[in-house]
């Protein structure tokens, strides 16, 4: 077992003990307990998911096809709360400088929020989406955010 730390903007945003030699541990943003990323029955673990679990970087970021698929999922699952432009209404804004969860700034943190859920209506989308779909939604959300 070894410790893997993800560094971004010179701030330690995720620092986790990995069970396998390669994979990061993702943690609940509620209480920092480990999230169970075991695939659901029948869920296909794509290359992108495998790569993400090792690096904490979303391979779909900037990839047009994945972003387009992510947009469809965003419209179905996210838009009602966060609005089509991510400005938020019943759910918080995704595109302003202030974030409810600072973890949103890294891909690993954004995954932890979407997969594991936050407080209130930010439900764990692990109950509804595959991990590959979550990465695609994340790639689309990044296109909404200010550079």
């Amino acid at each position: 077992m070894r410790v893997v730390c993800v560094l971004a903007s010179a701030v330690i945003l995720a620092c986790a003990a990995s069970v396998s030699a390669q994979e990061l541990t993702f943690r609940s943003i509620i209480d920092k307990s480990p999230l169970d990323v075991t695939p659901k029955p029948g869920e296909v673990v794509t290359d992108a998911v495998n790569a993400f679990r090792r690096t904490g970087q979303n391979p779909y970021t900037g990839k047009a096809d994945a972003v387009a698929q992510g947009k469809k999922l965003y419209i179905e699952y996210c838009e009602s709360c966060h609005m089509s432009d991510g400005s938020g209404r019943m759910g918080p804004s995704l595109i302003e400088d202030y974030h409810v969860y600072e973890e949103i700034k890294t891909d690993a943190g954004l995954f932890e929020i979407v997969f594991g859920g936050g407080f209130g209506a930010m439900q764990p989308f692990s109950k509804r989406l595959s991990q590959d779909e979550i990465l695609k939604v994340m790639a689309y959300v990044r296109t909404l955010m200010k550079p």
Binding site: I30, C81, E96, G118
Partner: protein, 475 residues
């Protein structure tokens, strides 16, 4: 007066004056007297959410029979009521299944997430008469809200079979619904034995029908009816309802009547009205100890409000919608709006993340939809109304602070799910249910991830083996 003999013409003039009940609570007369997040309850309670049962489809309500059985009844939006036994088991056969009583299809309209079965209430003499009452959006009646009574067969205490349901059903009320949202939902018997019905303004947004301030509609009201009538009479108007005689046929007299006397004449006023000016009173609760009433009125874009009536209330309160929301103006245009304060102020209010149009986003103390859970008299709480927020997962406590002579509102925890409803169990603990049924993510009332039933226990009463929700406690 709730729990007293009839008072004709009671409170037909709006009770703008503060009421001074026993125990010292006053209803705020000025906006600055209304509690907001950041206060401290006198007992500074520490609570935990303990799981009672899991695997409920879009639970929208919860109730107990009050018959000493310890059973909990969870309402599923699709049209079913499930029995949870005292050891936390969900009985496989529904207590009542309105998806099966009509051979042509469900009785319940669930097309929009605010539609469905919302509530079950047990008659105060349920143990003797077996009467239960439900409130739901009707499919056959194009979304109208229906209050209906069913009778439990004593030989089958945990299931009202299809035959028994159809044999015993009595429709109490059918209120047409103009739009698909803002129904209200909860029904409950008050300490006076009357049935109270939380009825929303009928929907869209902004109350386009002006239902809040109109007395000639059952929308945007807390209704109060007497259901102890002959089987061929749907319900009766309690004689002490505030508008019971406001539209009563009478001869016209122009002289010798005071102006106050004239003001009691409200042509078209619906006598079922107990209180009005409510936007969407989905949850309201009576304190099992004092009989006082709390109403969580779901707000629109910027503020949520919690109202309070002492048991001595004579009814007729106007809570201001659609002219005010909480202490604020409606429609809200900016931070410094000015407008008349209409009717009775809430005891507490809390903002959305954007408290007024264009406001900087709040980082603390916000929510989006107030779901009352129940009145707590334990764990250091003395008549504290617990309110769960649908967006932020925050649980607020609202309680009168005798020492400071004001209402306090404190965030007690933040939970990782949406609260939809609550009630007190037979021991007085507050129960809560959560669902994953949020507008566009709604995949239908049996296709969303299942929700759960929780009990709000004092943290020091959590025993080993109990499953608790991961929550964030305030610093």
């Amino acid at each position: 007066m709730r729990g007293s003999k009839a008072l004709l013409f009671a409170a037909a003039a709006m009770p703008l004056v503060a009421v001074m009940p026993a125990w010292g609570q006053t209803i705020p007369k000025k906006p600055e007297e209304v509690a907001r997040p950041g206060g401290k309850l006198p007992g500074n309670p520490k609570l935990a959410l303990v799981k009672v049962a899991d695997g409920l489809n879009d639970p929208t309500g919860v109730s107990v029979a009050g018959d000493g059985s310890g059973r909990i009844f969870a309402v599923e939006r699709v049209g079913r009521v499930k029995v949870i036994t005292p050891d936390g088991k969900i009985l496989p056969e529904p207590f009542l299944d309105l998806t099966k009583t009509n051979p042509l299809g469900s009785e319940v309209q669930t097309g929009f997430v605010e539609q469905g079965l919302w509530s079950i209430a047990f008659h105060p003499k349920f143990k003797d008469n077996g009467y239960v009452f439900v409130h739901y959006a009707s499919l056959p009646f194009n979304g109208a809200s229906i209050v209906a009574r069913y009778t439990v067969d004593k030989a089958s205490p945990n299931q009202i079979t299809k035959d028994q349901a159809n044999k015993s059903v009595k429709v109490i009320m059918n209120v047409p619904q103009p739009y698909y949202n803002h129904y209200g939902g909860r029904i409950a018997f008050g300490p006076d034995g009357m049935l109270y019905i939380g009825r929303g303004d009928g929907g869209w947004e902004g109350d386009p029908l002006n239902a809040g301030q109109r007395l000639d509609t059952l929308l945007a009201k807390l209704l109060r009816i007497n259901v102890d009538t002959a089987d061929d009479v749907a319900y009766a108007i309690p004689k002490d309802n505030p508008f019971a005689r406001a539209d009563y046929p009478q001869m016209m007299s122009l002289f010798g009547i005071t102006e106050e006397g004239f003001s009691r004449i409200k042509i078209g006023a619906r006598p079922e009205t107990w209180a009005y000016g409510l936007r969407n009173p989905y949850m309201f609760h009576f304190d099992p100890k004092s009989g006082d009433l709390f109403i969580a009125d779901v707000g629109q874009n910027h503020w949520e409000e919690i109202n309070y009536q002492p048991r001595s209330s004579k009814g007729g309160e106007n809570y201001g919608w659609n002219l005010n929301m909480g202490t604020k103006c409606h429609p809200m245009k900016g931070a410094n709006d000015t407008c008349p304060q209409v009717g009775v102020l809430p005891i507490a209010e809390y903002p959305h993340q954007e408290p007024y149009p264009g406001a900087p986003k709040l980082t603390q103390g916000w929510g989006c939809s107030a779901q009352g859970l129940g009145v707590a008299n334990y764990g250091g709480m003395d008549k504290a109304y617990l309110v769960g927020d649908w967006c932020s997962g925050r649980v607020w406590g609202i309680e009168w602070d005798k020492g400071a002579s004001k209402w306090q509102m404190q965030e007690l925890m933040q939970a990782p799910f949406q609260f939809t409803a609550g009630a007190t169990d037979e021991k007085g603990y507050v129960l809560a249910v959560n669902c994953y049924c949020f507008y566009l993510e709604d995949k239908g009332p049996v296709a969303n991830p299942p929700g759960a039933l929780w009990r709000l226990l004092p943290a020091n009463e959590v025993a080993p083996g109990m499953e608790t929700a991961k929550v964030k406690l305030p610093n």
